[in-house]
């Protein structure tokens, strides 16, 4: 069954030439010269006033990166990146780290206003009380401001930029950094380890339920820069935190590189919910420009009964290479992955997840919806594996995709690896699993079949969207109407 008109219109609304965040801000900035050498790394480290061990960590990563090869297994195609033609550091003049909102250049504040990101605490307070949300705003290579820090610290929650955390809580950073995504995990993660400039750090102590949503908003502004951020979130025993991430970039003809690493650590009974609305500049309708998004995101359910949940709405970037994963190490731990990926224009998405079952009685759930239109290519690539000792591992995977037009492609590449006889894995990529009962129920009430299917599938997509915190659900709202009838694997 081909896509219905409503779906086509919905996807059109977020087509690449409709990109709303493509404006550029002229702001004086401190930019490192192009190129990547040990000196660049020393300079970044010095700018950040990092401890010596951090610099060594970076230099070690750089040495190893030079021995690695760029991966080519993903179904994405792009000209070779010249890693010497990029600025690895750029910061608005005068800003080396987050400070009070009053010290921030008003021009910069206007950028966030335009993007609809609340940076003034009182503004939000004046708004809806319950949707209080703490923001860490990262502009090119630096964190500009972090809101609600004090209120959070009353609860014992540490929320600050990672550069600050390295100075103020070196013991925590040292203990956890690189323990989920090892330095040499992959080409881009290693590059990130060498040159990462900022990102967020969250630490939720034992038994604390973080009193508000935390969020980081990434903005690439400067030309020819790469953004390399690193996020580290630790939830101690019994803690809970919900974290959101958003990203945009100006409209430019050149491609820009974004290579981030996100590490999540959940100890016993802890829960981390990580949501992303990825809206980097996707390039124009002819495929010119756009962000290359090579991201390594991984959560470690280190403690028993811990839970990590990834939710992503992917609409931006020229190239996306991203597999938010869960290592289910603790007994009874649970991993979840909910994704809606929409590709338009000449976008190429190769995204999915990994669920690595190591502990006993671990469970995971993967729901992925891919929609491709225009000349785009949209690939789901997911791995589910049960280790020999992972008795009673459970996984359920469902991935559906929908094509709009005949110039695009949709691909599904699941890797299912069972090494334990008590493992139960189910993978399906089909529409026939729309419950016959539900369909019959609608039909019996006089709803035509196509509408009935749309209704049921919409209900289902909503379920994924509902996994997003309220603030982001609004941004993702425009996707809700997209029906997925006629899905193909």
């Amino acid at each position: 069954m081909p896509a219905v008109q409503e779906t086509i219109d919905q996807v059109r609304q977020i087509d690449v030439d409709q990109y709303k965040y493509g404006f550029e801000t002229v702001i004086e900035s401190d930019t490192a010269p192009k190129g990547l050498t040990e000196d660049t790394i020393r300079m970044i480290s010095a700018k950040k006033e990092e401890p010596e061990w951090m610099l060594e960590w970076r230099l070690d990563a750089f040495k190893r990166w030079q021995t690695l090869e760029e991966p080519t297994w993903a179904r994405v195609d792009y000209p070779k990146i010249d890693f010497q033609d990029i600025h690895y550091y750029s910061a608005p003049k005068g800003i080396t780290g987050p400070k009070s909102i009053d010290d921030v250049d008003p021009e910069l504040l206007r950028v966030y206003e335009k993007l609809g990101i609340p940076l003034r605490e009182q503004e939000i307070l004046a708004g809806v009380q319950q949707s209080k949300i703490a923001v860490d705003a990262v502009f090119d290579s630096v964190s500009v401001v972090t809101t609600f820090k004090e209120e959070l610290s009353k609860a014992g929650v540490i929320f600050m930029s990672i550069s600050e955390a390295m100075r103020e809580h070196p013991e925590l950073v040292k203990k956890y950094l690189g323990t989920v995504v090892p330095v040499t995990d992959n080409y881009y993660a290693t590059l990130n380890a060498a040159v990462f400039t900022d990102g967020s750090f969250v630490y939720v102590p034992k038994g604390v339920r973080c009193p508000m949503e935390l969020s980081t908003y990434f903005r690439i502004n400067e030309k020819n820069t790469g953004q390399f951020e690193r996020t580290l979130i630790i939830a101690e025993e019994g803690a809970y935190v919900s974290y959101l991430e958003g990203c945009t970039a100006p409209q430019r003809d050149e491609n820009q590189l974004h290579a981030a690493v996100v590490e999540l650590i959940a100890l016993d009974d802890a829960e981390i919910k990580y949501s992303t609305v990825q809206n980097w500049y996707p390039g124009d309708k002819d495929g010119k420009g756009g962000i290359y998004n090579f991201v390594t995101k991984r959560g470690d359910c280190r403690g028993k009964n811990s839970k990590i949940s990834w939710t992503q709405v992917e609409t931006g970037s020229a190239i996306t290479w991203k597999y938010p994963s869960c290592i289910l190490r603790g007994d009874n731990s649970r991993g979840e992955f909910y994704s809606i990926a929409v590709s338009n224009g000449y976008q190429q998405i190769d995204s999915g997840t990994k669920m690595i079952h190591l502990g006993k009685n671990t469970s995971s759930r993967i729901i992925s919806k891919g929609i491709s239109a225009g000349h785009s290519s949209n690939t789901y690539r997911g791995q589910v594996s049960a280790h020999r000792k992972a008795s009673n591992a459970r996984n359920f995977t469902q991935c559906d995709s929908l094509l709009i037009g005949d110039q695009c492609g949709a691909h599904t590449v699941p890797y299912i690896e069972a090494k334990n006889s008590t493992a139960q894995f189910e993978h399906e990529a089909t529409t026939s699993k729309i419950s016959e009962d539900q369909l019959f129920y609608c039909l019996a009430r006089g709803i035509p079949e196509e509408e009935a299917i749309a209704l049921i599938v919409n209900g289902f997509v909503k379920e994924v969207i509902q996994e997003l915190p309220m603030e982001f659900a609004v941004e993702a709202q425009k996707l809700i109407g997209i029906s997925l009838e006629g899905s193909v694997g």
Binding site: G405, D406, A410, P414, E426, T430, V488, G489
Partner: protein, 423 residues
């Protein structure tokens, strides 16, 4: 920067190259065939055996798994009774064909003759840089059969290609052509010897003209120390129908590739595959299926039973071309993992470029359903028998789809026997 140095040849790679140097003088074929062989061998020498870095060999790291390559010396293989009495047997004893008289409507020649006929060189090319089986077989092929069924002919008897091997190396090639609206049933059987460890490769090419209806059954019964690398390439014309059955029940290291192209409108493929895996074996079934024109359909069901320390792999790639609207492709891979030391990896892949298609794949890995077990045991059936019944039912279901009852019976007996021996 990042210059990758070529790793030195492994013992197995060396053995393959030495082996070629030893037999090259005796291999059949004219000058272009010899040149084609040399080219394939130098490709093996250059690229080595595939590793898991090659996506198509992701779960079968041949460089690691193929440890010893036997020499040419072998035991005494013997022809056996056909699977179904009255079949037309095309024997290959230790890889050597025989002179067989065939009924009307069937044309037969040995592959050795074909290699000398002056037109074989163009067939000795690999599918791509990752086609180790094509390279190895093309370099070493010594014999096999080539046959064709005339248009509108229905071959009544089952044709059984029966290859028996007792250690050593056997490299065969088969080419089968089926004319328009021809029908035939072929059993493609390879048997090894328990006491010997042998290496065999086979490349089979099927060409189904418009409206042909062919049932092709691959029955792999290698000895437990045998290594087998086999590849089937099939092209389906308009309204052609290929019912492909694959039963793997033996071997230490087995890779069976199936490459099917639905090239004419209305073409249909049914694949039913049963993998019975035990001992220390590693068995890989890899399918690529191209839906290249509109209105083609396919249905694939793979059932695996994993015992002991066996490892199984199924990779299934369905490609739907941009023009192939109204494709209907359904693929399922179900595994009964009955041992904690066993492993199964599945990669059911979809690659779709057309927007009005129905494609679905499902994959499950489970243990025996305890409710079913309870149901049977509550009726006084012992646990062992109940398990046996359930496992049997799990795979027999696929065999039952064969139309020929004698074949169904023969294959079910074979499966029962295997389960009794290993259960």
């Amino acid at each position: 920067m990042n210059i990758q140095t070529k790793p030195p040849h492994t013992a197995a790679e060396k053995a393959i190259l030495d082996s070629f140097a030893e037999v090259m003088g005796q291999l059949p074929g004219d000058a272009p065939v010899t040149a084609a062989r040399d080219k394939l061998v130098s490709a093996i020498s250059n690229d080595g055996l595939p590793t898991r870095r090659l996506e198509s060999w992701h779960y079968t790291d041949l460089r690691n798994l193929l440890r010893d390559v036997p020499g040419q010396a072998s035991g005494a293989a013997q022809q056996v009774d056909p699977l179904v009495r009255g079949s037309l047997v095309l024997p290959l004893v230790q890889g050597q064909s025989a002179d067989i008289s065939v009924p009307d409507g069937l044309e037969l020649s040995s592959y050795m003759e074909l290699l000398a006929s002056g037109e074989a060189a163009s067939r000795l090319v690999a599918r791509g840089a990752d086609d180790l089986i094509g390279r190895l077989n093309g370099a070493f092929v010594m014999d096999g059969y080539s046959f064709s069924v005339a248009a509108d002919q229905a071959i009544e008897e089952i044709i059984e290609i029966q290859s028996t091997q007792s250690g050593g190396q056997v490299h065969n090639r088969f080419a089968a052509g089926f004319g328009a609206k021809a029908t035939a049933t072929v059993v493609d059987r390879h048997l090894g010897d328990k006491g010997q460890s042998g290496l065999s490769s086979a490349v089979t090419t099927l060409d189904l003209a418009d409206g042909a209806d062919v049932t092709w059954i691959i029955l792999q019964g290698c000895g437990e120390a045998d290594q087998r690398l086999a590849q089937l390439n099939a092209r389906l014309g308009a309204d052609a129908k290929l019912k492909l059955f694959v039963i793997n029940a033996g071997g230490k290291l087995v890779r069976q590739e199936l490459h099917v192209e639905a090239a004419g409108e209305g073409a249909h493929l049914d694949l039913r595959c049963v993998n019975l895996l035990a001992g220390d074996s590693h068995t890989d079934v890899t399918l690529t299926l191209g839906h290249n024109v509109p209105n083609t359909t396919s249905s694939e069901i793979v059932r695996n039973v994993v015992l002991n320390r066996a490892r199984g792999v199924f990779q299934g790639q369905i490609r739907v071309a941009q023009v192939a609207q109204k494709t209907d492709a359904q693929m399922a891979c179900n595994t009964l993992l009955l041992s904690d030391d066993g492993e199964f990896s599945a990669k059911p892949e979809l690659e779709i470029f057309a927007d009005d298609v129905i494609c679905a794949h499902g994959a499950t890995v489970i243990d025996i359903d305890h409710n079913h077990l309870f149901y049977l045991m509550a009726r006084g059936i012992s646990e062992k028998t109940a398990r046996g019944l359930l496992v049997n039912g799990f795979v027999d279901e696929l065999i039952d789809e064969l139309e020929n009852e004698d074949l169904v019976e023969a294959l079910e007996t074979l499966i029962e026997q295997w389960l009794a021996d290993h259960g």
